[in-house]
Symmetry: C2
Subunit: 171 residues, 2 copies
């Protein structure tokens, strides 16, 4: 037994107030609640980390997407919004800010003039490469209590959930 967390208390409170609710459903709510709380801890840490570089997570998300999949030609705004799962307005905003900082640049696609290609500038590449490892190690601290096997288990369960949502490929 590892002990109890805050969500175990929430489970008990619901069970007391609404005892007719199936405990399996309370377990479901607990799982979602735990992901929510975990996300808040992670977000807070990442926020302060990226702030040191004048970025927020949303901007880094774009830089990282371009770094790992942009090649030299960059990717379209549509690819970015599907990868980040945000609306087009959000991507316009992110790219605007990164452009103002000189980290990415926009150009009209040659094949489709509706389409915008976004590409890392040399400074953009330099910045991602500078902060990437620190970012990952930051995240690693949150999973540090899991051993290799448990981490694989977690990834397996989450993968199963994502596939059930049809999340089988990026935009």
């Amino acid at each position: 037994m590892t002990g109890r967390d805050a969500i175990d208390d929430v489970w008990d409170q619901w069970h007391r107030e609404r005892p007719e609710i199936d405990t399996a459903l309370l377990d479901v709510m607990s799982a979602v609640g735990r992901m929510n709380r975990l996300r808040r801890y992670i977000d807070q840490t990442l926020r302060t980390y990226f702030a040191r570089y004048g970025l927020d997570f949303s901007e880094f998300d774009v830089l990282a997407t371009l770094r790992r999949s942009g090649g030299v030609e960059g990717v379209s705004a549509g690819t970015l919004l599907r990868s980040a799962m945000v609306t087009s307005g959000a991507i316009t905003n992110r790219v605007d800010k990164l452009t103002a900082k000189g980290l990415v640049e926009r150009s009209v696609s040659t094949e489709d003039r509706r389409s915008v290609r976004v590409r890392l500038t040399p400074e953009g590449i330099r910045l991602v490469d500078d902060i990437l490892l620190g970012h990952i190690e930051n995240e690693a601290r949150f999973l540090a209590v899991l051993d290799d096997n448990e981490r694989a288990q977690l990834n397996g369960l989450l993968r199963k959930l994502l596939i059930a949502q049809g999340d089988t490929h990026l935009g």
Copy 2:
């Protein structure tokens, strides 16, 4: 083998672009990435559900907290902010909106006049009880692909992560 999800592609992309990064670290980044994407799917569904009742998730979060732990006297604003893991400004805003809708009411604490007690109104209680089960079943659809054992595994892993963050009790 269950197949691959979008994050498996991201893993491959990073491994190709930055092959020197330890694959265990890529697994860490994948786990966090999966939680992020899953949260986006869940958020989108919940948003449209609560919108039908003129609420958003942040408001429901307050109502639910009061319903399961507020008793008849309600709870303090401080309790709400720690439970929701948001800043005091966010709670002020949420309570303002819920008050305007007649779902909660504020009163000054008798023991500590700095403290504000927030309590569900009868309409507030009615609304939570009306929408709670639909909300939980909504969440249950996201975990439906997991069997009882897997769901327990997931809760166990997430609990372990939360406890490591010191998340052992609500405010």
